[in-house]
């Protein structure tokens, strides 16, 4: 049988290392039946469509039964001349960078102070909580806090700080409020993520540092930071993947009735409006929407590659 011929090298290897070669062949036979259903579903409905998305970005097509025509880079050119696209692009980059920096600072602060804090486990669970909650619910609650008659303005008024009362959801401030909401909902995850790397550091290293007279900040500088660099790189990559996609919280701020104001649009929102044609009954622009998807993938890849550079070359070995 063909399968046997193919499997022979592996079978020979198996015989050399362990005992039963026959058993090994039998186990190899189980490999494909267990793997294929998932692999085929993944390939057919995820990988192939994703590649097809790239193809679509060079075409104009509205689905089966409509005319398919190649348009080259016209979709990209149109995006570049679209003010909506450019502002949503800048917003997305701004959000990913600003929130990214905020998350990094919060994670560093936590690494400095949380390791030795009392009730550290409780603090971690409580700050993680918003990450578990639907971003729609987070967006609704946060936007309600900031609405003109909402809690924030009420409290500012009660505190006699009327000067600070703002139309928080107006075009000038709404995106900053959204970014604050993103920080609130995501920060706990990154704190717990980096702390799980801190937990892996042998306590003896901190002991030595302490005996040498290092304070908590120096312990962070000379023990924690060098030994958690890989995790910080991973966290940065994860944030890049997540931040670029920011969608729900923006939609929750503005609802589905109106289209989100340009000041608050991210690339994902802009793409959604082009896929559905928006609520104002516009035409779907699938080619351009696909091009936005390609652009977002490109940014994600660039950010992942950049975050890899934080990573250390040599693998860490404890002991």
């Amino acid at each position: 049988m063909v399968a046997d011929t193919v499997a022979r090298p592996a079978a020979r290897r198996g015989r050399a290392t362990a005992d039963g070669g026959a058993l090994h062949v039998e186990r190899r036979r189980l490999y494909l039946p267990l793997l294929l259903p998932a692999l085929i579903a993944y390939l057919l409905f995820f990988v192939v469509p994703s590649i097809f998305g790239v193809v679509l970005s060079f075409a104009e097509w509205s689905g089966l039964g409509t005319e398919f025509s190649w348009v080259g880079v016209a979709n990209y050119a149109e995006l570049l001349s679209s003010r909506m696209f450019l502002s949503s692009f800048l917003n997305t980059v701004l959000l990913t960078l600003v929130v990214g920096v905020a998350l990094f600072l919060i994670a560093v602060a936590a690494m400095v102070a949380l390791r030795t804090a009392r009730a550290g486990a409780f603090i971690r669970s409580a700050v993680f909580l918003p990450f578990m909650i639907s971003p729609i619910a987070v967006g609704l609650a946060v936007s309600f806090l900031f609405n003109p008659k909402g809690m924030v303005n009420t409290v500012l008024g009660l505190a006699g700080l009327d000067a600070l009362r703002q139309p928080w959801l107006g075009p000038e401030l709404i995106f900053r409020v959204i970014m604050a909401g993103v920080v609130w909902s995501a920060a706990g995850f990154y704190v717990v993520l980096v702390m799980s790397a801190v937990d892996g550091i042998p306590p003896s290293l901190y002991e030595v540092a302490r005996i040498e007279g290092a304070g908590l900040i120096q312990q962070f500088r000379y023990v924690t930071l060098p030994l958690t660099r890989d995790m910080i790189a991973t966290a940065a990559a994860l944030w890049a993947i997540a931040g670029i996609k920011t969608f729900e919280i923006v939609i929750a701020f503005v609802g589905t009735a109106g289209t989100p104001p340009p000041e608050a649009r991210t690339l994902a929102v802009e793409q959604y409006l082009r896929v559905t044609g928006g609520r104002i009954g516009g035409m779907a622009q699938l080619g351009q929407a696909a091009a936005i998807g390609v652009v977002m993938t490109a940014i994600t890849v660039v950010l992942i590659v950049l975050s890899r550079r934080i990573q250390r070359r040599d693998r860490l070995e404890w002991s």
Binding site: R28, P37, L39, L56, S125, A126, L193, G215, G293
Partner: protein, 295 residues
């Protein structure tokens, strides 16, 4: 504490900085708990008292907010949609990913590394790269089924299909890690006792991996329960939409209904099940999300 006799300015600065950070962390904790409490209280207030009395206890406890949200605003039907969609999808995800992960981790030989990477790549592709093809497949699929096969089609089935395939990369990848961490001696012992490879998988290794399998299932429940954009894109019919989308619609009608208490009741309906799951599985969810990914 540090045992050093001299207090250099840097140390004093460091110590006060740490006190400051800890105070900040506690404030953050308090804020989170206060937010949960605030949303819950708002859900049983009248819309007027939500604005007039933003921090206090409700004047009258408006439990009927939940009733109006549930029936009048259609959150009840949406909850049912969400529950069924999440249950069916997660069952399918696990049915596909557990055997596949076992195969890759334990049976794959030389090809297992590349296959694992192939699945992992899917985790870093943004959903938006997939969105347009997804919409086209959805339209094509429903037209094909209506014209040729069943004569009718429910877009929720398409949503379940995409929920499953989009969750496969993460699920398979994390489960591969769990299966790799199990001791191989047990498989050999089972084989010596005459168990077939499939029985070894089904009756020995899968039960051993149960903590990992449960964690991945719970994480998928969380993700899919909170999912919004796929339903927004694929399901135009409001009666078929899920809880998050129904909540958005509710919010969009707020300028006509002004039923803010009902809106907060809706938020509680969305949020409470996840908080219960979090309290129940707590550490496991946190570890699954962070350690599974960190590796």
């Amino acid at each position: 504490m540090t045992g050093s006799a001299r207090h250099r300015p840097a140390e004093v600065f460091g110590a006060s900085l740490i006190v400051l950070i800890r105070a900040g962390l506690w404030l953050w904790v308090l804020f989170n708990l206060a937010m949960v409490l605030w949303v819950m209280l708002n859900s049983v207030k009248t819309s007027r008292s939500i604005f007039a009395n933003p921090v206090g206890l409700p004047d009258t406890w408006m439990w009927e907010n939940f009733a109006t949200a549930w029936s009048t605003s259609g959150l009840g039907a949406a909850t049912l949609n969400s529950v069924i969609l999440v249950t069916v999808s997660v069952a399918l995800i696990m049915g596909l990913s557990v055997p596949a992960a076992y195969a890759v981790a334990r049976l794959g030989g030389r090809s297992s590394g590349p296959v694992a990477t192939f699945f992992a790549v899917g985790m870093s592709i943004p959903f938006q790269a997939f969105a347009v093809p997804m919409v086209l497949i959805s339209v094509g699929l429903s037209r094909f089924m209506i014209d040729w096969i069943t004569g009718a089609w429910d877009p929720r089935v398409t949503v379940a299909l995409f929920y499953v395939v989009l969750s496969l990369p993460f699920s398979v990848f994390v489960l591969i890690g769990y299966f790799r961490s199990l001791p191989g001696e047990l498989e050999e012992a089972a084989a010596l006792d005459g168990a077939t490879p499939f029985r070894t998988f089904w009756q020995i290794m899968a039960p051993l991996a149960r903590p990992g399998i449960t964690t991945v299932a719970v994480l998928n429940v969380l993700t899919l329960w909170n999912e919004t954009v796929i339903v927004l894109m694929l399901v135009p019919n409001q009666r078929m939409q899920t809880l998050n989308v129904a909540l958005l619609n509710f919010y969009s009608n707020m300028q006509y209904t002004s039923n803010w208490g009902g809106l907060f009741a809706g938020v509680v309906i969305v949020v409470l099940p996840m908080i219960v799951i979090y309290l129940w599985f707590g550490r496991r969810i946190v570890n699954g999300m962070t350690q599974g990914i960190g590796k």
